[in-house]
Each structure stands twice: as C-alpha cells, then as structure tokens.
C-alpha cells in the first residue's frame, strides 16, 4: 500500500473508466505505468482464507476506510504486472559456511522463478553495502554477487533495508523487497525510527527473512509497516521461503483510491476488509502524507 499520495503521471488514456483501466493494467506490457493523472493512494493487499490466497475478487468486494472514512476504490489486478524484486542479503561474518551455501542456492532459485519481464536487483551488506546490479532483467549480472560473496564484517541491517527500499521504488511495476539477515543491526548509520517512517511513505512491500531465534525487531516492524511479513526460518529452508514469498507476492492485488473527506497531512490509518467473508487481509496499517521536515 502506498505510504504517500502518489502523483501518478499520465501515460494511459485517462478517459478510460476505472474498470477499463484495471483491465488494461492487468494485461499491460512492461514499461507501462499505473497512471491516472490524479492524486491517489495505492494499497497492496493479500487476501487469504484458511492460509490460501483468495482469487477473483473485484473492487466491490472491498471496504477501505481512510481514517475511518469509507473510500471508493478501484482494483488493479497484478497477475501479469511486472515486478521489481530487490533481494537484500546479509553477507556479514556470521553467514559464512553452510548458511552462505543455502543463501546462494536460494538466490539462484528465486532468480530462476522470475518471469522474463520482471526486474531484479541484489544488494549485499555487512557494514558495507555492495550492489550486485541495478534493477535489471539480466540474470547473469545478478548472480555474480551471490557467487562471489565472501562473508565478513558487521551487520548494518537498517542501512541496507533503506537502500533496498530505494532501489525498489520505481515508476514502473510493483516493488518487493526481500531482506535476509541472520543477525541484528549493530553497525548502521541511519536511525531505525526514521527509516521506518520512510517505509510508511513508500509503496514497497518488505518481507523480512530471519534465522530462527534472532528476534529482529527492526525487520518485524518494517515488514508490518509495509504490509509484508517476517518469516523466521532455518537456513535449510531458505530456498522454499524465497519462492513462497515471491509466489505470495504475485497473489496480491492493488487497490487504488483518491482520498475523499479526509484531511491531507499526517498519519492515515487504513482499514481494509472483504465484505461478507471471514478472510484475512494483509495490508499496510496506514500511510504518512505530507512533508515531515
């Protein structure tokens, strides 16, 4: 879900009806933007029942309240929209050995699962941030960082997550930032509260993947703020986890609305429900609007 009001640039014919826009975007070729020419809020939503994603929902199935005020939403299907997947991987000293092998295997599996039109970037970090490549469709450029990784140093989780979010934010497509870390932040320069606040303004969805028992509060908060999830796994399950996150992300849909009858600035609490169903809805809890500085 957006953390900010997005000024969406005109790209498609703005005279299309909302319904038609949804249909066009669902089949949009890569490079097209989600555009309407008006200020809009976007809410990335995962609806599930009994642990399985619910498909076939329409805008009429949703109730979205912005600071308690019911909004009129449109639904943007995403089955075929391009993804920007940013894999942020901890390469600090504690990852050395078997854990690195599991990570490399999982990373290769994730890249293989992407569709040709999807773009990906990899950011490695210890206390040092190292980008494997910018968002690209060239998988070989992405693999070198994983293949050449030599874990060493401290963990700057907050710095790396921020950089991952910035890499993922793009005019095109939807951004999934997957942050893997086996430790807690010990070396970041950026303050965690400010990075969390930026997350409330961003459209990216962050999924945290941590090692069992590490209790990474920051990643937990970041995942919750962005409507993602924190998964606590054994490193032997990394491959399955990476793929499960990607598959889950593809099942999400995007709601969009132009806020009505709510003041512009500050924190907007969001309440997203599916009418008439006992479904679980995962979406960001709200968004920040206006310039905080």
């Amino acid at each position: 879900m957006t953390t900010t009001r997005v000024v969406i640039r005109v790209l498609l014919a703005i005279l299309l009806t909302v319904t038609a826009l949804s249909a066009v975007l669902a089949s949009a070729p890569r490079g097209q933007r989600f555009s309407s020419g008006v200020e809009a809020v976007r809410v990335d939503v995962l609806v599930s029942e009994g642990g399985r994603p619910v498909r076939g929902l329409t805008a009429a199935d949703f109730e979205v309240r912005d600071n308690g005020v019911l909004q009129e939403v449109t639904l943007v299907g995403f089955e075929r929209a391009l993804l920007n997947v940013v894999l942020v991987v901890d390469l600090s000293a504690s990852v050395a050995g078997e854990r690195l092998e599991h990570l490399q295997h999982a990373g290769r599996g994730l890249l293989a699962r992407l569709r040709p039109e999807d773009r990906a970037a990899i950011l490695g970090f210890s206390h040092v941030l190292v980008r494997g490549s910018p968002l690209t469709r060239d998988r070989t450029r992405l693999l070198w960082l994983l293949n050449e990784a030599r874990p060493a140093g401290d963990t700057a989780l907050v710095d790396a997550t921020y950089a991952g979010m910035m890499l993922g934010e793009s005019e095109e497509g939807r951004a999934l930032v997957m942050v893997f870390s086996d430790g807690l932040d010990v070396a970041s320069w950026l303050p965690a509260p400010r990075v969390l606040e930026v997350a409330r303004r961003s459209e990216v969805v962050v999924y945290g993947i941590s090692m069992k028992g590490s209790r990474p509060t920051f990643l937990e908060q970041m995942s919750a703020q962005t409507g993602g999830r924190l998964l606590d796994v054994d490193s032997r399950r990394l491959s399955d986890t990476f793929l499960a996150v990607l598959d889950e992300f593809r099942e999400r849909c995007l709601l969009s609305y132009s806020p009505r009858a709510v003041p512009g600035g500050g924190w907007h609490a969001l309440d997203v429900r599916v009418k008439g169903r006992q479904a679980t809805v995962r979406a960001r809890p709200g968004y920040l609007a206006g310039n905080p500085r």
Partner: protein
Amino acid sequence: MSCVRRLVLLTGTFALAATPLPAGPDDAREKLSALGRWLAAVEEHVPGQRDAALERIARWKNRDLDAIASYLSILAELLPEPANTRIGARYGVAEAEIAPLREIARSDAARGDVNRMMKRGALLHADIMMSGAGAAERIGERAARREVRGGGRIAVLGLDGQHEGFALIPHHWQIARRLLDAVHPDPSSDAFVRLWYAATTAFMLRRGLWGDAERQLRHARERLTPDAGVHLDSGCVYEAYAMPRVQSMIAAGPPGVRYDVQPLEANLRLAEMHFTQATVLDPTLVEARVRLARVRTLIGRAAEAVPELERASVASSDALVRYYAVLFLGQAHEALGHDEEARAAYQRAAALYPTSQSPHLSLSLLAREADDRGAAQFALRHFLDTVSAQPVRFDPWWVYHLGRGRTLPQLLARLWTALPPTVRQ
C-alpha cells in the same frame, strides 16, 4: 573488511543470591612453588612476544593466579623496603614463607629499579591477554550460574547483536593492575603506568571487550591522577554501551542475565560527563569535543553541538576526527530542522572520504523525507554506481566505536619504546 568474528564482551551476573564458595586448602608450600614459577616466567618473558614463558602462565586457571595474589601483595611492599619486618604479622605469614620474597626484593633493589618486577609482571599478563593466549574460557549456562553463586561475575559474549555464550573472566588484567598499583613511590603519575593503561585499554576497545574496558577504566580513574585520555576512553565505553551493537545484544540476551550496563539514556549521560571531563583536562583534545557534541545531539541538545562541531571540523589535524565532526554536524543540523546546512555538512563529509557510505545514505534519506523520491534515489544510486564498485572502501564511521582502539599499534609502539632498560631486560 576484517574476517575476524567481532565478538562483543560485556560483564554481568544472573539474578541469583551469592553464596561464597568455601575456601580451598591453604598449602603454603604449593603457593610458594607457584610464585617461583611465576617469577621465572616474568624474568624470561620478552615484552610484546608470545614466547614459552607467556604460554606457561597463560595456561594458569584463575584459582592458580589467585593463589599467588597475596604473595604478590607482600612482594609489592617488600620491593621498596626489603628489610620490612612488620609485614609477616600483618599478612599472617611466617617469615620462612617471606624469605624468598625478601631475597627478590633485595636483588631488584640492587639493580636500581624497585619497580622492575611489577612492571614486567604487568607486561606479561597484558601480553597474555593481547596475544590471545589468555582468551576468556567459554562456559555453559549452568557453569555461569555456578560462578555467579560463588560471588563472581561472568563475561557475556555477543556476535552480530545476539547472545553468543558465557565465559569466565580471566584474572590476568586484574593481576596486572594490582602489580601496577604497587609501583613505588606513586603509580598515579608514573609515565609507564599511564602508557600501559592507554595501550591496554585501546586493545580492549578495539576488540569490543567493553566489560573489561569499563572495569579497567574505573580502576584507572581511582588510581591515576586525572587524565584526559582515561576520560576520553571512559566516555567511549559508555557511548558504545548506548549503540545498537550493545543494546541489541542486551535486548536479545537470555532471560535472567543482569548485564553490568545501564539503560541507554544513563549511558549517554555518563558519556557526556566523561567527555566533558576530558575536554576540561585537555582543551586541545578535539576528538573528545566531537564525541561530546555527538552525545549532546543524541540527548536533544543539538544547538550546543553545532558550534562545537563547526570549530572541530577545521581544528583537528586528524582527518578522521574532521570527518566525524562534519558527519555529526549534519546530524545536529538535521535534529534542528536545518536541512540545507545538514546537506552541506554531509557533502563535506563525502568529500573528505570519497569512498565513505554514511553521508550518501543521509543525503538520500533527507531527500526521501522531503518526499523528493528522485533526489533520494539519485543520491543512493550515485553512491552505489560509483563508490560501491571501488575495490577498497573506507568509511570512518565503521571504526568510530573503536575509540582510541583505532590507534592501538601506535600506542603499543610507544609503550615498548618507553620501557626503561631495567624493565626491558
């Protein structure tokens, strides 16, 4: 990047009532024999070397070191006054046990340096710890609890902000400090003693042995004449205690462990107090001023920090300290809402160390917070495209937590060259 696993050492206890262990058998002959072996090792050891003498004493357990501690106290009193006859009664020790110690004291007096044995002994124990030969012995939680029940404290180890285990605190540092306490006539202003404290504390800071450093600095503040360096190091320890590398570890620690670390705000106040003291004792110590200003920004007094950092950013002859000054100047301006000034400061920092990462992150964050996504991405991408591709990168922020541990090689070199000839041989 170093490949060393960066362990952090704090000290602590469990929430248990202390029940002192029963004292061991008082075998004077065995203790005297141990003292003899210790004295031989002290004579044989070449300062700064990991030699056979060092290895022999490094294998001693804490109880072995404790066994000779009372004799070392007697020796310390005899060195300046070998003929002292009151000492046996005071320590409850028979003259037969004291005689060998009296002989050593006479021999050193004849060499013209009554402190020789004390200083060589302190060097031996420091070398044991700094060479890695005397690293803290890992113990399980049950043994750690047993140690605490006996009235002791334990080392709590962390890695990557997470609990890594427990260890016994070796008594080598304690013995070394005790030996230096006995330096005659007054250790508090002895140049060698002060250098020993500076160098060994730098080692502790460099290795993240915060618990050891805090105990050592507390001792130094009690025993040495007021020293700006000691207060700078003390402030660094409390500043580190307030950083995520320690706070994360405490938050993730096992239940029941009581760390010898105060809450974050209290640590910042302690850091401020010691940095202030350091600047009073030595107004030219720019690093203390910079650190003081950073701490003041963190406790909400950024307006006081700005002029201090402005001055420091041009006053220091050390490029690292100038970098810290402008980096923290950016932070202070941000806290005051002066975004333009903050941006300028971060740009200065980036220019001082072109491969640094922190100023670029701040420039990006500033732009993103102002909802200028393009500028935020440009700042970050520019950094990632240019700097992150460099084979050798250095951001002084990465070593800020080391304090004077950054200058350990220089301090050790000064210590070795300052050894009096009588101590060196």
